[in-house]
Symmetry: C2
Subunit: 153 residues, 2 copies
């Protein structure tokens, strides 16, 4: 080989080393996606992880920090830091959970919801670029299959 860009044989998938491993394909696709996401979110002073917390707080109701952790596959201690940051910026609030005074329910403020919506709109464009090789039907199929894999818990 010995070239700048690794060769990507069009008609011969078997010639792509490691491409038989779903784990490698997931890792590489995720690396591209994560880089694009972080680049896109930079103007909002958000990153993939902080955005995911904000977006979840804006969407879901009555989720505790523990719920955030397991849903986003983060350690509970990481959620603390992420929520701290978003709370200082008045994008989310911690409210005591009804019925369990140990737990905090994390909710987005109006401001947070607005920012999440803005970010989401721009992320759609980044995702569009990432999936540019797929038509609408393929995108739907990929999402459906990934949904099954992502929640094999």
């Amino acid at each position: 080989m010995l070239r700048k860009q690794p060769s990507i044989p069009e008609g011969d998938p078997a010639a792509l080393p490691l491409s038989g491993d779903a784990s490698f394909l997931l890792a590489r696709a995720n690396a591209l996606s994560l880089a694009a996401t972080n680049r896109t979110l930079e103007p909002f002073t958000l990153k993939a992880r902080s955005y995911s917390v904000l977006a979840l707080a804006a969407t879901a109701d009555y989720m505790s920090q523990r719920d955030f952790a397991s849903y986003l596959r983060l350690d509970p201690s990481q959620v603390v830091a992420l929520v701290d940051d978003l709370q200082e910026r008045a994008l989310v609030e911690r409210r005591s959970a009804p019925g369990d005074r140990r737990a905090n329910v994390v909710v987005a403020t109006d401001e947070g919801r607005a920012l999440a919506a803005q970010a989401h709109a721009v992320l759609r464009q980044a995702e569009d670029a990432l999936l540019s090789e797929l038509d609408d039907s393929e995108r739907a199929t990929l999402a459906a299959l990934l949904r099954k894999v992502a929640f094999t818990d």
Copy 2:
């Protein structure tokens, strides 16, 4: 919500927060995959990253460290450390690249190829578990779609 495991509505994908974002699905699926891969490779004293270097060295011919970096989406300086480790263990060798004395071609030793094959066999089982919700046809479709996304460069 407020329960240990986040709810996964069967018939209503729209109720899964963030599941409209391909980037979230990729991140979550990759997190599961990476954790399973590292767990599986532990007996071999390998991790996902070192395995990918070893497997690539065993499969592809005449790839320089720079090629490894771009193909595996690692920084060239990370490849140095990973190859150092594998070379100390006599699993790969650095050979001077024919025609360019700056570059190193990384090749697996017989021992390295044998270990890669062993690891690969066990990884197949881990992957089988990860994809347990998908039938053979769906697995092939997912791989084909991911291959397109993973190499949108």
